[in-house]
Symmetry: D2
Subunit: 424 residues, 4 copies
């Protein structure tokens, strides 16, 4: 299904008076509202193909209905999101869950929804049917060169799929690690991983990036071979200019100061981008902004500051993606909520008075520094985000319109109740 | 010093146009703004006497200037806060740091600032000069009955001071615990603590409450004898109807769901009240709302819901106190920031559409439930809090006025640079 | 398959000289070695039926070979373990994964392996095919009374299966909780859970116990309705004398002092027993003793002390069970390692000089208290555990013998490569 | 006081029969016991001068008696420890707490106790009387170049003191960071710190090392400017060949895999050494090995493996120091317990069958790898450590002898009850 322009217009007309009042109020408080709106409009967050189905836990999965069962349907889903919020104009594929049979047709389909292809993702944390070697004991770190080669070859194939679709980056997330003391020689695991990544790196096109993701724990529970930003950065530096560190909000030890990590990675010119989600305990993969919205704002505060200092374009310089699963909500609505939270945080970060903040910092005026950040965070910027969406042709209330037009019901009619998406 | 009414009026006049615009905008969004304002006006948060000086860490203390060096000056400080924000109309004393020599005169002084005396606090976690027995190995838990008796007697004396001042509650926070496995018999420590508390409980006046505080760790680093809400509740239930559990935001293990604990304690009729502060790592005692403002809102959401369900008056039914130290900010400004954050959270919690939330919960509409809470949290309610303060005669911008009239400079002139407050 | 007595004897003969030397050395250090050996011999740890297959994570499962595909084969597996270590003389079934078709025949089979049936476990955290209502939003806590009734009925049926097999306890572990703020009314969820448990409790036979398990998080990631020992104890107290709190080592927030919780639950007469496993980050479900063996010893130190104080028989008074999954090891060998670690910890706890420890505690001699515990923990007691096993007819080195006789190979021959066990 | 050789001999004679039996038993199990003993004998752990007094928490300090009140007395204390355990042959000074007035005399005194001077430590986390600028807002990171210069100059002076005493390393631990979001520009703080360190680095003698310590949190509670090994390594790499990363066991986020960090730092040739202590919650600074002895062993397992791979001499290649405070034990006994735990862990690590472990790792034999490590950890090696100490002229039971000769009582007689050591 596609959401007809007319439905969006009708929806917007109903809400416009209320929206206009809010927007008029807030826009008068802001000096250059037009410039702000343009930045917010341009900011797009990619949707991973595996977030379109209902994710689960090791204790089970409560599948939803009308899930996309093919790559085409996944693109259709992201198209729906993008029609509603005009902020999800990219899709990130996962191989082998989403192997395109005909890349050109898939590209055309995506283009028809105004979508491009974000980073491609490899999978060497699960065994696929017919696979020669198992990843039970790791992939790029594996003691057996045959396993490493298989995993390297898989990544090279993923790059090829990405080239065909117009992607410009490969994201490598490894589950590699160990669950018991003694299982692994840490140095050897690191060196094997480095050598494997070097092999993959050789196959990166000139204008591509390699995103090296890290994660503190899970699914390995004693050590992870790329466990923190320090290890990822070490690898990225050894690999070369095209290798970067990817930050996923849920991949840290408890209480880590992620905004500081982001700032330092930007300082080193090595931040690849972000996987957004939220969590309270571990890698809970909850809706972005649903648990710690202030942290999300603080991260964007560092992103904006650091990108501006380094001359990086907000919209295109780094990779922005959601990586949340959601076993309790409709996946599409969950993604709409995530995108909204991210854009609110980004908008607020843009509104920080950086000159005043810098002055407060130089004067060690801690009170003032806190006031500057909290003033922005306490400001209701939803009308700004909505206005940007409105101007791009999106819905003033994407979640509301999703319910109004009964998107899921229509998808179930089209796809049936039992269609199940690939993914976790 | 006292802040003259005229200064506040001048300050308010300058800000009123801007404030009026914001208040008009938001008040139209709210159905019964007057009722809301009355609740916000009435809500007072007590100031602990030890938060008026510059707190430190075990690595040292960077003392500020013009700190209050007597109980009278501490009351003066709280009077200043209350004049500015009209929300700090109570002071919580700590014995032996604040022993009133002449209770009547102290009461008169407090009354002149429109202040009352909140819960009194005992101290059996430090040794005082001339003390017969040391608390090195605990107080109410101690294996030596002489130490326990000394600690019990001290608490009884604290109650007496409280009676003289008009307090209605005793807060017992114990550092008791152990730092090494084997040091303590856990059951014996618990039973000794229970017996000691029973002794103290006997001396509580009829209309008093005993607040039993818990803390996960620090200053003991292996076990704490009242370590969590379960242990505190067990004690409170064994003690009787006047004993309650006190929650301090910083006293939990990482990632604890404090709002759920609050809800269950209210359900059991055993929530004493709150010590507000914020933290990222441990009992960091940072400004309330400075790190996790959404958590603060979620806690107030449960407080409002649970107090309403139990018919508890918001303003008077429970004990509200700040318990933060701050070695980097002016303590008074820090307290103004804490109170503001607390009142924002309380105001937002009052605005939650409970009927709609309940409907969403009954329908397992997780998306809707999240939207309801986040809609309120994203609403800028600062003008409501300011209006409530304004109507009570306080300043529209307490932190701003504090700086404008150079409160600290005037205090230094009056007290000298080297006055140091008792406390941590 | 069964492990022939003769194989065990041959194995033991080979190792006996070395064992004898070690046992002679250590036994001379111990005053009443015979009494100690008897206790160690009697101590049995139940094996859960779901631990016999290869557990996985949400990222996948690397299935082993020759897994038991029927209840009969699961009993056979536990029989093998018990033949090797003479310490795994009970099996704990999980319904609906292990519904016995013919209880009498199953009992006979178990008896032939010298096994009894430990607590039965219900499952309301997953949907089963054909189930009328989904547990997606909880079971005993559910807002819909139909769902609650379905879950209650399931538990009643589990009790019936347990009665038929001779079990004496029902373990209730609930995944119930919420993943997003606002999703749940905490008080209502608690009350619904309580009412549901009361219904189930009514159907408990006179000599049965109900084990109420708690867990901090996972699979719900915002709140769990029975999240900590305090909540479990609250429920157990409201339910009655047959209800107890069950402790699983992996179900706590980071850094929780589990040994203190155990001690207090024993003091309150409400400890049901234990689910053993180990973890570094969350509910990692690793081999018992593989990460924090000293903590395991400290827990047993409290268990022995508390059981002795309360006159509880070590072997029969509480429920002891392993609850670990293991996606990297052969499940049977993993269980052998867990049992060995548990028995070592238990043996060491028995060897603590309680009189000296008590004296050190009474004197606040922290150094001495630590020395007493660490002296025991540093003592090599493996020969004692081995001797107890030897005297019961088990193998001196169960893991070694498992490999020698190629148990898994023989099981694969019997069952085929592709047999897969039910479970997580 | 000095412990007379004759007292040690008498003590050893009493214990020798029992020791001999234990040593004979264990030494027969080991192939090259003499080589092992030599390594254990040579392994020395430095004592920091600030650990000789009773440390406290922010809630207070329960001072002991007979504490060393001068540098001379601190050296005497370490001399006592070394006489007892022959493993504490170095002292690490802290400036300005331990400024030597006459370096030559101090060196002579140390030599008379067979002690050398380990790394010298600077202090820019506290303000000293008469200091021109405050470190309230940091030192090497400070926005004010005057503060940075003052801190740099202090470090240069510390180096001078170290040169005079024969030290070969400067340890820089910074409390620098921030307690509130917005307070600090992370990049600027990092760059300022780097520039300041470069200044200090210039003043390092050719044969010196700079140890850059990191810490996750405390005393700053939002960010620390050198917060993790990644940040320390980044600095060390930018500084040059003489700069290394120092690991303190208590300076990590919860659940960090420290052994993996150690392994990678050794791989990178950038591990400076270790500050030993133990903790359950935060930087608790408890006795080494008192909470997580298995972790301590696993760390030594990586240290031995990594040092051997890199050809680093165990005894002299890295810096080994205790950094624990202890407000409940006699500091000297606490240090004896720490050293014992460290030497046990080191001895066990030396006994790991590395060839077999490597084979198990290459075969992904997780069971075997775990068995190899746990076999060693479960082995009672205390007689080996005692034998090494005995051969060096130390006491078979240092803690026992400390009590027998009433060391503290004699120190109190000499120094008085009220002498208080400088430190935390």
């Amino acid at each position: 299904m596609r959401i007809e322009k007319q439905l969006i217009d009708q929806h917007n007309q109903k809400l416009e008076a209320k929206h206009r009042r809010a927007f008029n109020y807030i826009s008068e408080e802001i000096s250059d509202i037009e410039s702000l709106l343009r930045k917010v409009e341009k900011f797009q967050i990619a949707i991973p193909s595996w977030a379109l189905g209902t994710g689960g836990t090791r204790f089970g999965r409560f599948t939803g209905k009308g899930e996309p069962s093919s790559l085409e349907q996944k693109i259709e889903d992201v198209g729906l999101l993008h029609a509603l919020n005009k902020s999800s104009g990219a899709i990130s594929l996962h191989i082998p869950w989403d192997i395109p049979q005909d890349a050109e047709k898939i590209k055309e389909l995506a283009t028809s929804y105004d979508l491009v292809f974000d980073a491609v993702n490899s999978n060497t944390f699960q065994d696929q049917p017919g696979q020669a070697y198992s990843y039970k004991f790791g992939s790029l770190q594996h003691v057996d060169p045959n396993v490493r080669k298989q995993a390297v070859d898989h990544n090279i194939e993923v790059i090829k799929h990405g080239i065909a679709l117009g992607s410009k980056a490969l994201t490598v997330w490894l589950a590699d690690g160990s669950s018991f003391p003694g299982q692994l020689n840490f140095r050897e695991a690191f060196q094997n991983t480095l050598e494997s990544l070097k092999e993959i790196y050789k196959h990166l096109p000139e204008d591509w990036k390699m995103f090296v993701e890290y994660k503190a724990f899970e699914p390995n529970f004693y050590s992870t071979t790329i466990a923190d930003w320090g290890q990822s950065l070490l690898l990225a530096n050894k690999l070369g200019d095209k290798a970067y560190t990817l930050v996923d909000l849920g991949h840290h030890l408890p209480n880590a100061n992620i905004e500081q990590i982001v700032s330092l990675l930007l300082m080193e010119g090595k931040l690849a981008g972000f996987h957004f989600n939220d969590s309270k305990y571990a890698d809970d993969d909850l809706t972005a902004g649903s648990i710690k919205p202030y942290q999300l704002f603080l991260i964007f505060n560092e992103l904006v500051d650091g990108m501006d200092a380094a001359g990086i374009d907000h919209a295109t310089g780094l990779g922005w993606m959601i990586d949340a699963s959601h076993n309790l909500k409709d996946p599409l609505v969950d993604l709409l909520q995530s995108v909204e939270a991210i854009k609110i945080a980004y908008t607020q970060a843009l509104m920080v008075d950086r000159k005043a903040l810098r002055a407060a910092q130089q004067a060690n005026d801690v009170v003032k520094a806190q006031e500057i950040l909290q003033d922005v965070f306490r400001t209701d910027v939803r009308a700004i985000v909505a206005e940007a969406r409105f101007r791009s042709g999106g819905a003033l209330d994407p979640v509301g319109l999703f319910e109004e037009v009964a998107v899921r019901t229509r998808l179930i009619e089209e796809r049936g109740s039992n269609s199940v998406a690939t993914g976790l």
